[in-house]
Symmetry: C2
Amino acid sequence: MSVLITGVAGFVGSNLAKKFIADGIKVVGLDNLCRGDKKNISELIGHPLFSFHITNLCDLDTYAEIIEQSHVDEVIKEVWHMAANSDIPAGITDANIDLCDTFMTTFNTLELMRRFGIKIISFASSSAVYGDLGDLNIDETTGPLFPISNYGAMKLASEAIISAAVESFLDGAFIFRFPNVIGLPATHGVILDFIRRLNSSKKLLEVLGDGNQQKSYLHVEELVDAMFFIRKNSSKKCNYFNIGPGDDGVTVRFIAEKVRDVVAPNALIVYGKTNKGWVGDVPKFYYSIEKLRNLGWSPTLSSEQAILRAVQEIYEQETGF
Amino acid sequence: MSVLITGVAGFVGSNLAKKFIADGIKVVGLDNLCRGDKKNISELIGHPLFSFHITNLCDLDTYAEIIEQSHVDEVIKEVWHMAANSDIPAGITDANIDLCDTFMTTFNTLELMRRFGIKIISFASSSAVYGDLGDLNIDETTGPLFPISNYGAMKLASEAIISAAVESFLDGAFIFRFPNVIGLPATHGVILDFIRRLNSSKKLLEVLGDGNQQKSYLHVEELVDAMFFIRKNSSKKCNYFNIGPGDDGVTVRFIAEKVRDVVAPNALIVYGKTNKGWVGDVPKFYYSIEKLRNLGWSPTLSSEQAILRAVQEIYEQETGF
């Protein structure tokens, strides 16, 4: 049997693929290489357990052909659907980006799962489905769900169409609501952004927002570990979990300072005036992982520890040191 | 100024249009006449306050032209977006139906509202966004939201993309979560279905499901009244309300018996064996309207009274008596 991973050349997808292959499981990997990068999976290309296809999941016919071919060789038992837009501000400027890359990828994936009798989906959802709930401690039953970005909206739309599919033809769905995830290979996100900007100007780091936005951060290795744990240990038809470090998180100010300390200790940090980095940015976020703890999984790194580790890792990725 | 009503030839849209025009407000009405019917708005055609366009909202260019033309004549101040698929089982068989008719109609409406600077949307959402929550008493903050039909999923997706638009460019959104709505002009639904089946065979009424499914029903006149009340009296940027009769509802068995009493008193009613009428049907539903009561609106008819009235009305519609 094999698993299909969408967005396999992306940040989370590439880590997942490596883990599956290390466990001896065959992976059919798909990516349009729009935000993903082939170098993220360079060590897998040519591996006997790995086949890679460059394709746009919005092109249903080509997507279907790839699954049909792969399915004949070896039955695809489940799909890990990680493909999505990852540039939230871009998706607010042009709603079509998240429509196509975040939602229609899910819609088409389900359409083909039904067609080819693939019955289990694991899905990269997001804390963004909760919108801006202020000081509320958010667990999986918290409502209302009013996302403030098209990205969050199309992740919620994806959850919704998956849950309808659970009712009509799927055997199981695993919905992982990701927090901010950091680590390697860094393809986007606040740490990479700060490092690149400081690398190009060693004297000044300008930060969007006032630096007081506070969020929790999880290292990608822990994220993958948590997803595998949930996949193995939760056995409802529709399984949905917040995944996170379970702490109150760190401020953007903390991240900016830690990046400065590593990249350019003498640089000046200048903050903006608003409490949001951009339209659609959620300024504060308290994210309960009690449900996941009750299932038996706990993180080993705090948000602070995850940031410190990722700053070092991403600095090395960017500079070769 | 004028208002744009999508799905204007449908069940709710036609009632809305009549109310606006009775109040002296100009209406631009759109419908693809796929499930709506021109006879539902026959009394409005030719009225100086009413302009009607047959168009598919999924065709963005034509939709844009109509708005542009209407907008030049008289500024469209707000949109009442009622267009959607109304055949839930059909949408489960073919997911593209609710993708196009329930979600993409919303997506395109927002896209054009942004383009033409229209800042207020009123939206026909649905209790279907809540999925099957069993015995839970459902209020507007209840979660998780896992719809069990593609219709419910695409209504939730529509809410989500509207809430993201509130964050980025809308001045106000009014999200009405409809219960089962009954009354005239009946275009679909359980009463019409029972009446038509009994009219064609006076001896036997076969009912999908065991008849114990229990839901609340609101008369369309009360629904329209509630929507206007909310539009006038709620003034947040994102306003969302359950609308319903506020009771525990009636069973399918009750409806079947009342229809039989009116249409064919000697007919035999035969029930199915499952507690669902079809995949995606929610068997029981307790729907709180406390938020709406607190705003100052209360229904005048119970579910039972609404059913009794609607059975009579729809029987007259169908038979001319």
